[in-house]
């Protein structure tokens, strides 16, 4: 495929192909198709290039979320098994991801034995580096102490467990928005964390790609169900000057995406059970689907970053 403009109908210096390529890298270009009942997504760049192989990537990592180990209700009586299947998928990837990000709700009830099971199953994963942020199910009874002791030892989490790190020129920020929640409110970051965030990114160049990950969405997905973070606007304000910001969340057990300026928001599927689309059920509790459909609604998210391309490619795949 050539890169020069072949049809410049609008005389604006861009043709359809160029526009699609550009949109794909801007993160708006995820194409959803249903093939044989299986929901798959591909970036438009992949579609445009059809049979061309994907270029070698500089950094790829994988997001898994909402394992809910310990859950055994009708929506999925064996969440440990579906978590194992997710790990099998990771192990089967031709190029293993550099690391995993787990965006919370490892456990159903914050029980030590649930964390034990998760850790034991995770040993089968070829990719050993995992970065964590807690979900509300992980910090139910002790303000997250047990969780921090187990999962944040290596990252020197500040406050209730937030931290940042750099990989291949990308700046990663793990935030905690599931603690000290206020009556009637949403997810919350709090002043201490926001001040830390402002200082954390202060000296970074605007061309540094930023990846933020937190459990509850950092955008107002559906506040009526608590699917949002009350002070996320302030956090995003500190990130406004950057050319590429990718925000990865869990919590809502389904893929939703939004692009706002240079910021791409993306939520991942759960490995345990789906939840209803916003407002489509009396409550956001586990969605019961026929057994044969369950794995099509569980999944993981692969993220790729190529140096020279400022935005990241985010691709979801299910466990069917």
């Amino acid at each position: 495929m050539s890169d020069y403009i072949s049809h410049d109908h609008e005389h604006d210096g861009i043709d359809r192909r160029g526009f699609l390529q550009c949109m794909a890298w801007a993160g708006t270009g995820l194409l959803w198709t249903i093939s044989g009942g299986v929901l798959v997504s591909k970036t438009l760049a992949q579609v445009a290039k059809a049979a061309e192989p994907l270029p070698a990537t500089d950094l790829s990592f994988l997001q898994i979320s909402d394992s809910h180990i310990g859950f055994s209700k009708e929506a999925n009586k064996d969440v440990t098994e579906t978590f194992k299947i997710a790990l099998d998928r990771i192990n089967a990837m031709p190029t293993p991801p550099s690391f995993l990000i787990h965006t919370g709700d490892i456990s159903q009830l914050s029980k030590p034995e649930e964390f034990d099971t998760f850790d034991e199953v995770l040993k089968s994963c070829r990719t050993k580096d995992v970065f964590y942020v807690p979900g509300e199910h992980d910090v139910l009874n002790d303000g997250g102490k047990l969780y921090r002791d187990r999962y944040l030892k290596s990252v020197e989490g500040k406050g209730s467990g937030w931290y940042s790190f750099n990989k291949n020129g990308v700046h990663f920020i793990g935030l905690v928005n599931v603690l000290d929640l206020q009556a009637g409110g949403l997810g919350q970051l709090g002043d201490d964390q926001l001040e830390w965030l402002e200082a954390d990114v202060k000296d970074l160049g605007t061309s540094t790609p930023i990846v933020v990950f937190a459990h509850i969405p950092l955008w107002a997905v559906y506040p009526q169900w608590g699917w949002g973070t009350s002070d996320s606007e302030r956090a995003l304000g500190y990130l406004k000057r950057f050319g590429s910001v990718t925000v990865l969340n869990g919590h809502i057990h389904q893929v939703l995406q939004k692009v706002e300026g240079n910021v791409t928001f993306h939520t991942a599927m759960s490995t345990a059970f789906p939840q209803p689309a916003p407002g489509t059920a009396p409550n956001p509790g586990p969605l019961k689907v026929p057994a044969e459909k369950l794995r099509g609604m569980l999944g993981l998210t692969s993220v790729k970053y190529l140096q020279g391309k400022s935005s990241l490619a985010v691709v979801d795949s299910n466990l069917s």
Binding site: L109, S110, Q224, N283, G285, P286
Partner: protein, 123 residues
């Protein structure tokens, strides 16, 4: 003979019905008494991510019990820490407190803070 037998049967049946009615009445009566005293009245059901009733009025010294009917864990946390908080309640688990001084006590679920409720304690 046939008539007599039939009459006896009817009489016996009537007795049985009368007895049964009395028993039912007695049981129903007991339940009503229970209702008027404490436990059933002061129960709050957690269902569809909501406290039901959302506001409950009780007398000082009475017990209030929450039961979780959702498949999602919920907690009961007092705004301003005015009574002890619950641990996470799994499906069908209960949590009971004995209310103290008269006043209005707001509480919420710390897992789903959109869920709020109020206990009004009277003398």
């Amino acid at each position: 003979m046939i008539t007599l037998n039939a009459r006896r049967k009817v009489a016996a049946l009537s007795c049985a019905i009368a007895f049964l009615n009395l028993s039912l009445f007695a049981i129903a009566g007991e339940m009503t008494n229970d209702d008027s005293t404490s436990s059933k009245q002061n129960r709050i059901e957690i269902k569809d991510f909501a406290f039901n009733p959302q506001t409950i009025t009780v007398k000082s010294g009475e017990k209030v019990t929450w039961i979780n009917r959702d498949e999602e864990p919920h907690t009961i946390v007092s705004v301003g820490k005015q009574f002890k908080k619950s641990t996470a309640l799994d499906t069908d688990q209960e949590f009971t407190i004995t209310v103290g001084a008269p006043g209005t006590y707001d509480y919420f679920c710390s897992v789903h803070p959109k869920m709020t409720g109020t206990i009004v304690v009277e003398k």
